[in-house]
Assembly symmetry: C2
Homo-oligomer: 305 residues x 2
Amino acid sequence: MLVTFLGTSGSIPTANRNLPSMAILRQSELFLFDCGEGTQRQMFIARVGFGRKTKIFITHMHGDHVLGLPGLFQTMSLLGREEPLEVFGPPGLQKFIEAFKKTVQFGLTFPVIVEEIRDGRSLYETRDYSIRCAQAEHSIPALAYGLFEKERPGRFHPEKAMALGIPKGPKWSQLQYNEPIALEGGRIVTPKEVTDPRRPGRKIVYSGDTKPSARLAKFAQGADLLVHDSTFGDDLQEKASEEGHSTASQAAQIAEQSKVSFLALFHLSARYVNPKILLEEAKQFFTNVFVAEDFMTLNISYKKT
Amino acid sequence: MLVTFLGTSGSIPTANRNLPSMAILRQSELFLFDCGEGTQRQMFIARVGFGRKTKIFITHMHGDHVLGLPGLFQTMSLLGREEPLEVFGPPGLQKFIEAFKKTVQFGLTFPVIVEEIRDGRSLYETRDYSIRCAQAEHSIPALAYGLFEKERPGRFHPEKAMALGIPKGPKWSQLQYNEPIALEGGRIVTPKEVTDPRRPGRKIVYSGDTKPSARLAKFAQGADLLVHDSTFGDDLQEKASEEGHSTASQAAQIAEQSKVSFLALFHLSARYVNPKILLEEAKQFFTNVFVAEDFMTLNISYKKT
């Protein structure tokens, strides 16, 4: 699973940081979190691809988080996309999308399915993962999102199955997918007898714009990667609080409470031309922390069990 | 007068070319022609400035030419702009601006004055220059724009005025600004006796998206710089015609007819990773031609008289 930061600045872009967007590529599926102005160009440069099965998750309706949608739709259309595109976000998203579809001339070649989220819950679920959201604490209604992989089957041991007299075939599958089976003589074999314990899936949480929040600390519990609002340094903690943002230190304290594996400082104010100070402040509270940079790609591997 | 290309691609951005926008800086005044997605970030990088007296001219309502407006307004607001901002463009512009003001949350700190242009004419005129427009030939209603400086007074020769017995003072001014004056004895002195001939102003024409057009060739007559749609090469002349665009060769033929000083090939399709072929095709028809590149800045000086 690859995480690529497409834009890491807050509110205003800089020469090195575009407006917020983060891509997760899981197998052949693309998940985009926020879509600031210029995201489509960042996607070109990062070679993320425009034709994939894609879902977009918008945290809130501030311009710097959504204004890249119209251009992305136009480019996908120019490239002939036909696959439907699903976009999730807070109330107001549908109206925004309708407004630019009506007032800018471009021929959409694919259906856009907008789902406005009115409560925190699982938004989308497959056999392998779910995408969930939680209310963040910002100046306007805002959401955090998480990709939660489900537990994977433990390693199957064919030699143990053979020793129990289970022939290779559908019964092996059943055991692998955690179902007990009956042998011909009536003996029941439980999955535990032939497989290792189930292995945890991976978990990535994207906070969007938010003040430090106990709810989000819980939501991010045990995540492999927490990407958290770190707009300001300690010098501007009051401003952060007033505007519904976090400082890098506060993000680190959330990471520490959540016992995440890694914290990415994200959504940096343009004033921190050198973000080293933010990193140093965060390190006081949490060691495995780094500053997200545009085009940085992380390979999130499974935790060793 | 400085011309800076902020984005030189057509329809889809590339790693090296952002969506269309061109800035003219004349004295302390900024004129922006088109505002593709990402223009605000290009303005940051080019250090064009967000607080100046600014007018924006939109050629047509295709997304790649207007989608940078909302983010630019938001950034100007975050930077505390109070000066009104004037935006000129075709019918539909007002509705587009109203739509995103209603559906995206950002607090505008300055008045936006939108003027929809329904006929080709002089849009704005001062003592020193006018901005004019002309209908282009595209797939939807589209405009070309030109900045036309007025003639400047010819050089004034104080020694000639002295020799004629004209005292230093308001009469010198009158002569410089092309008004005859009367001496005390009744003799009339004409401006010609004490000044060189009036000098031509500078002229820059921006075609926007257009097929080759006799009307625009006339509009651009004698321009110092013509920035012209050059979306395709000769290989795609048919496609260019179908979609309301020009090839580089066609742009060069217009430049030749208009007797402009320089032609910039602009709005290049993303397929021309190396635009050398476009330049070579254009050179068959017009010598003083170059490919516009993002962040290229030209100093347009007065023609020698």
